[in-house]
Amino acid sequence: MALSGMRGLSVFISDIRNCQNKEQERLRVDKELGNIRTRFKNEKASLFTLISNDWGLKEENAMPSKFSTLLSDRITLTSLVHVKGLSPYEKKKYVWKMLYIYMLGYDVDFGHMEAVSLISAPKYPEKQVGYIVTSCLLNENHDFLRLAINTVRNDIIGRNETFQCLALTLVGNIGGREFAESLAPDVQKLLISSSCRPLVRKKAALCLLRLFRKNPDVVNVDGWSDRMAQLLDERDMGVLTSSMSLLVALVSNNHEAYWSCLPKCVKILERLARNQDVPQEYTYYGIPSPWLQGKAEIYLRNFDFWHELGDTDSWCSREQREGVGLINRLNIKSLWWLLDHGCDIDALINLTLQVKTMRALQYFPTVEDPNTRRSLFEVLQRILMGTDVVKNVNKNNASHAVLFEALALVMHLDAEKEMMSQCVALLGKFIAVREPNIRYLGLENMTRMLMVTDVHDIIKRHQAQIITSLKDPDISIRRRALDLLYGMCDVSNAKDIVEELLQYLSSADFAMREELSLKAAILAEKFAPDLSWYVDVILQLIDKAGDFVSDDIWFRVVQFVTNNEDLQVTEAASLKAREYLDKPAIHETMVKVSAYILGEYSHLLARRPGCSPKEIFNIIHEKLPTVSSYRSKSGRYSATTRAVEYHALSMKGAALMDILAEMPKFPERQSSLIKKAEDSEADTAEQSAIKLRAQQQTSNALVLTDQRPANGTPPVSQLGLVKVPNMSNADQSTAEQGLTHANGALTVVDPQPPSTPSPDLLGDLLGPLAIEGPSGTAPPQSEPRVASGLEVGANEDALAIAPVEEQANTIQPIGDIAERFHALCLKDSGVLYEDPYIQIGIKAEWRAHHGRVVLFLGNKNIAPLGSVQALMLAPSHLKMELSLVPETIPPRAQVQCPLEVINLQPSRDLPVLDFSYKFGTHMVNVKLRLPAVLNKFLQPIMVSPEEFFPQWRSLSGPPLKLQEVVRGVRPMLLAEMANLFNSLRLIVCPGLDPNANNLVASTTFYSESTRAMLCLIRIETDPADRTQLRMTIASGDPALTFELKEFIKEQLVSIPVPSRPPAPMPPQARPTSPPSAALSDPGAILAGLL
């Protein structure tokens, strides 16, 4: 075994390798780290001299004490270097050890400087190590990296090509903003220098690309666009490729400036298309000629480039647009050529080229020109049909990579149905082969295929095979199969598929169960042929994987059953629930759902054996202890409680003691529930139900019972409300039993004359309550009184939900819009809005007073969204330009709409996006606040005491310096507040204020009127009372000072995240004023009385 020439390193690696266990390894690593640390500590002295000469470095904090003594003894540093200094070889060795240790997953929190210092070594091997280890160990925010800027710059402007390459690669990989500011001019010079070799210029182009991304200002548009155009005359493909990448980034930032490059791009493409300069000899196996490589790359880049252009139709002049059209055609021709010739060359070249070209083609809108289209399809056809399975694995992989890319392209091109069915047939073949990779990709691509219209039926033919794949030994494949089944499910095959999923659920591995049950639940709801089936599926689901059935799912079942009008369905559901209760061990969710359903409807079963109220009560009571949370989370489980109450009501005589034993907390719960109902606070459980629900389109089969609460009005709290009378009944019955002492604090809402206990207590209760005896009008049943009593609940439910019903068609947002907005105030990308049809994402980049925001409008459905309109309502202080939003968003497509923002002056006003679209007959309109908040125009700046105090003093008093005592502050620790400030880009400067309870922060605000303006903030807190504080804000602009003060105040006083507007209480739910329609309803009358 050849050693790398660093014996110590090899020994160390062997040692690690010989370690028997992790503990030994850790000990060995610790020992080595200790060793390196000691060596470096001694080294530090010499380093210190070297570096301080080199970079003017400030003294490092951890100076070894021994060393300090030496210093005080006036032993010169130079002599120390001679004694202790490490040779470059040693340093190299230690630095590699560090990298090795780091790679093993240990923290290496020292020695970074040594790594960085190697960069300045004169010899190539050390320098190279320095560069590589630095880029592995450090990231762009690391302080030490700053120290290296000068050395890196020297290498870049030096004459040694290899050094230049190393330096450019480092900067290209981890260079940050500071690098951008200090190195960009040099890198630009290299890139356009005629004396530089392509090797260096290629890297320079990519390096500049990174610097540009870090700070777009480093590339001066005016001068650079011409240079860029000249660059495109370059003959070397490598340089061209890299330059093209750079151009793509530049153009995406500022299209107009680079129009001069357009004809050059056309020329390049022409050259390639005409087969000029195409070397005929291809190197064999695996080594694509750099030319071809470059070519493939160039195409790819071009496509990105033209893709960009294609996006920006709005500003294209006619001429320019024609230019683009010309290029498109050329491009496709040349691509076609490549595809055609690519088939003759060897696997890997074939692979890179073809995959890339085809991937690139998919960025295009579909090809229109009939001739091009025909030739393209010929090639694709050849790939599709001509790819055979060969023995060589690698070649096989390569050819199939091409094949799958061709498939993707065919899908994209929206080929004729015949070709599509060919593709599906091919995929059908793939999903049945032995080779697992192909099976996996077959399933994956079939899922993609689902997005293409018309092939649904053909795919369905493979359903049996896909179901087999659901039982594949490989989880990756099983997941794909599940996804595919989920995607291909529709009304016609829902029953089969859902039943398949249910069956699989019992044997499925843990990792998949949650996904499985969620998908089964969604499909069951979405495509349910009838309600009984749906209820049946969900009950099975709970039975088989109760842990994975979230509360929303069972809430939903309960809601459906309750709102359904067909008594048979209700009866069937009750019967099912009853049957499940007989099982020896059932999941608590099953207990809850059964208790609810039986609590409501057990009277329907009353004549069946084992279904008398008493028996039902007993069995529920027996299972109830398994429900762990029914006691703790009062509001949420009102359904359970409620079910139990009914039984308490009907069973009081028989099992009163038990009731009391089980539920001692009833009274408290009652009050908290009433309160909850009054506050009408949105319930989280219901919201997640909405979320779950909203993941899919409205169910066709269940649309009648599909009541969505509008504005987040929570049915659960309504349940809480309607529960009250029953509660009082229960309490009352307790009172009658003379057992009030058990619940001493209980207020008896409606005192009743005690009546004699009887098995049919409910009737007794109802008698005096519903004086006019609605029970008399109830349908003749064996227990008419019980029945009518039970209807109370059902009817009241209906009442409670009635106002909501009108809005059943409203599309509900997923997640809390306000919450999303607040989150986006602190970060720059995320989801702004989401509902079942659309998702609006946002990505923003803020630089000084400019903002570049991109709105991502994603259609989540397989049907297009029409009448899309986005209107920007900008406040006066913001100049906003929203690019044109297309009227239609194609199925499953995402549209990007750039939005330019310029901040004119300080203000806290917010822009609003008035967004609307139409899906089917639904017109949806939302007004969304955009997070172009004040703090986005702040740039953190750390100020030193020398800078801070003169500024602070010079800004004396209002209006430039404002002070306010803020009360009602959300209590938080000082550290939390500091975090909050930092996240608002107000950088806390520790140590400026001697008082530890105070906080000093600084930032720079940018707007057109104020330019860059330093803002200083001081917060004085009172440790005894965290709810108040005094803040002082100072800046050079009165308006800014005021706005910033108010802004910070808002952040401190309000709770920015969970601010949920209280949903209005539906007045109809108040039993005091029953709607006239319900007047004849005994339940309503009863409710009115209570």
Binding site: M1, A2, L3, S4, L9, S10, I13, R17, W96, L99, Y100, Y102, M103, L104, G105, D107, Y124, P125, Q128, I132, C136, N139, E140, T162, C165, T169, G172, N173, L206, R210, T283, G286, I287, P288, S289, P290, Q293, A347, L348, L351, T352, V355, R359, N394, N397, A398, H400, A401, F404, E405, P436, N437, R439, Y440, L441, P473, D474, S476, I477, R479
Partner: protein
Amino acid sequence: MGIRFVLMVNKQGQTRLAQYYEYLNLEERRALEGEIVRKCLARNEQQCSFVEHRNYKVVYRRYASLFFLVGVDNEENELAILEFIHLLVETMDRHFGNVCELDIMFHLEKAHFMLEEMVMNGCIVETSKSNILAPIQLMDKA
């Protein structure tokens, strides 16, 4: 972006090389490597070469005792990445001559150099073996 990380791990789960193209801190890396390696090592020859993990798709290939794992995003052609792994191995093979785990272990720096030549910022930049190996030969000479 494409490639997010390249890992080489032996069948005991020990990392032999790790290169990330997006910044993760030590904790995140440790967790990620642990989870992915556990997932991949548990798989057998009959299973496919792709493992889905969080938002990554891991394409892996096993050569004797060594696993090569490449984390990619959804924008990559899986089989093409599978072949990229093979190219990486062939390149190492050409340099070391019948490359084995020990070569990578004891020549960590060279393995790093090769990878650095092949992938920059998550994109495959070089597939010619002689071009990839040129700087290493330069280093050997120095």
